[in-house]
Amino acid sequence: MDTARPAEARHMFLNMGPSHPAMHGIIKLVVQLDGERVVDSNVDIGYLHRAFEKDAEAGPYNNAIPYADRLNYVSPLINNFGYCLAIERLLDIEATERCQYIRVIMSEISRISDHLTCVGASAMELGAFTVFLYMIKAREWLWELIESVTGARLTISYGRVGGVKADLPEGFEAQTRAALREVRKVLLECHALLTRNRIFVDRMQGTGIIAKERAISYSITGPFLRGSGVALDVRKATPYFVYDRLSFDIPTGEHGDNYDRYLVRMEEMEQSMRIIEQALAQIPAGPLNVDLEGRVMPPMPADLMVDEAKMGRVAGFLQARVRLDPTLEGSTRGPHGAVNANEKRAVLPPKEDTYGNIEGLMQHFKLVMYGHGIRPSKGEYYSAVEGANGELGFYVISDGSERPYRVRVRPPCFTIMAALPELLKGGLVADIIPTFGSVNMIGGELDR
């Protein structure tokens, strides 16, 4: 060994990623090591860049809604509603009250599933595989709820400008309460397995520390910032939807290390469940579907309805609630009005109207066909929602045409990733794993 070489020449460069089991998604981390210590690191992102912003400019406003799902694919509902909210503010319209509650409930379900994934995956990387399985099981309960409402598990495209795709299904409240009971049980088990687990605590406590001031300087938001002791939450600071009517606490840590962020996330799940339960209790009922004689009509499958109609039994069909194919579910007239704003220039008509009368067909045509569509007046708006990782902002500029002139996404984990070299510096190689896990990096929103 040549001892005359300068000290820094002994540093080893270690490439983690772009394809590495502990790099959730694809990023490259070049770590400069002095033995086991991280001297410096360089984060290389952009491997998942899919030109979301360029694509959003290229099509009508509604076209970006499915893309918005794919920003943060672990909590797609929040992105969806965030984008819709920005367009609504630009149009100066407001969703119905029932819709606002639905959005709150679905956002919080999404937030819990996001935190479960983050904590579960992080725990698995530290050897607690059981916790991962338990949490994925709990997430399954929530995804079943999401599936029953949106028809999809991951890429849900549930939000609409001015509303949501569908009303909540029958028995949703009971199903949700049952699911939350299960999730609570799982969280209790995971607390028992992790919170005082010597191995887990040793690896989480005192690693990946960031001070309050540095976190603010890096524009870090969300659970990551709250772990450093700043009680900042968009839901409280600038309430949107109906968050101002629901009571919840903002958990904060004090050390700004991985362990505090873990505790913050665990507590936030509990707070989200509180929000869901309050919202379920407060949600105003949609219009009751009654037939012409005032009898409550149970929802009827569309094919059965056709069979009935073939036999001439059509009395009361006008007001009847049809159960359509899952891909069209919710677009029937009754629930459609309950969850969508009365704004013909932004909201698609219920499918019955599209196929059933000329006004509905025209409205559909004018919103869907090339060259037509939602047309906000010239203007700009920055709308922020509290994503699972922090403030998710959509800055939309309209030039009066049917396409957004500019859609800028403020991705919450982008700023946290920018701070990663500072978080890793001075730590051990083994600390990279829990620190990176607590960032909850989501490639979709990081690279867009």
Binding site: G46, K54, Y218, P376, Y381, S401, R406, A419
Partner: protein, 197 residues
């Protein structure tokens, strides 16, 4: 969200020479600042006790090259069918104007500032000309500006003077052009051929 119009007033009294204009739209406050004055204004906004913008929430670019010119589909002679009355854009309470001509200022850098102390927000916009768009970096004030400015350079080719390491961030080094510029075609392909050396 209750914006404080005193922020504009504060800037008007403290740095009148830096302001190009100011407006409020849908309850959000915007000030337009000369590119040369931006670092000073940013410092002022961060440090003044009545402003205290400690968070640079977002930083991004806009290219106004085709602003208002994409109205192919608006009711006109080429598409004679007018929109039904219920589909016309409802005029919102405020009117919005860019305040600077698009021809002279093609680009804009948009800073979204947030104060965690006062819980207020301000949008600062810096219009830049088409040729040689340069603005001073604010990396010294907010650490988050580092990556945000790199991204804006990458996407729009706006140069940030004083940035320590202005490289591409989302695109690869060999990429030609700046993809979010309006004159960059969306279907253009640039296959990555591997390392340049």
């Amino acid at each position: 969200m209750n914006p404080d119009p005193t922020l504009t007033a504060l800037l008007r009294s403290a740095v009148p020479q830096a302001l190009l204009g100011a407006h409020q739209y849908q309850g959000q406050e915007t000030v337009l600042v000369h590119a040369k004055e931006l670092p000073a204004v940013a410092r002022f906004l961060k440090e003044h006790p009545a402003a205290q913008f400690d968070v640079l929430m977002d930083l991004g670019g806009v290219d106004y090259l085709t602003f208002g010119k994409a109205l192919k589909s608006a009711p006109s002679r080429s598409t004679p069918s007018p929109l039904p009355y219920y589909m016309n854009p409802k005029p919102v309470k405020d009117t919005w104007d860019r305040l600077v001509p698009d021809s002279a200022y093609r680009f804009e850098v948009v800073y979204h500032l947030y104060s965690s102390v006062h819980n207020h927000r301000l949008r600062v916009k810096v219009p830049l000309p088409s040729a040689d768009p340069v603005v001073g970096s604010v990396t010294g004030l907010w650490a988050a500006a580092d990556w945000f400015e790199r991204e804006t350079w990458d996407m729009y080719g706006i140069h940030f003077d004083g940035h320590p390491d202005l490289r591409r961030i989302l695109m690869y080094e060999e990429f030609k052009g700046h993809p979010l510029r309006k004159d960059y075609p969306i279907y253009k392909r640039q296959p990555l051929m591997g390392p340049s050396n």
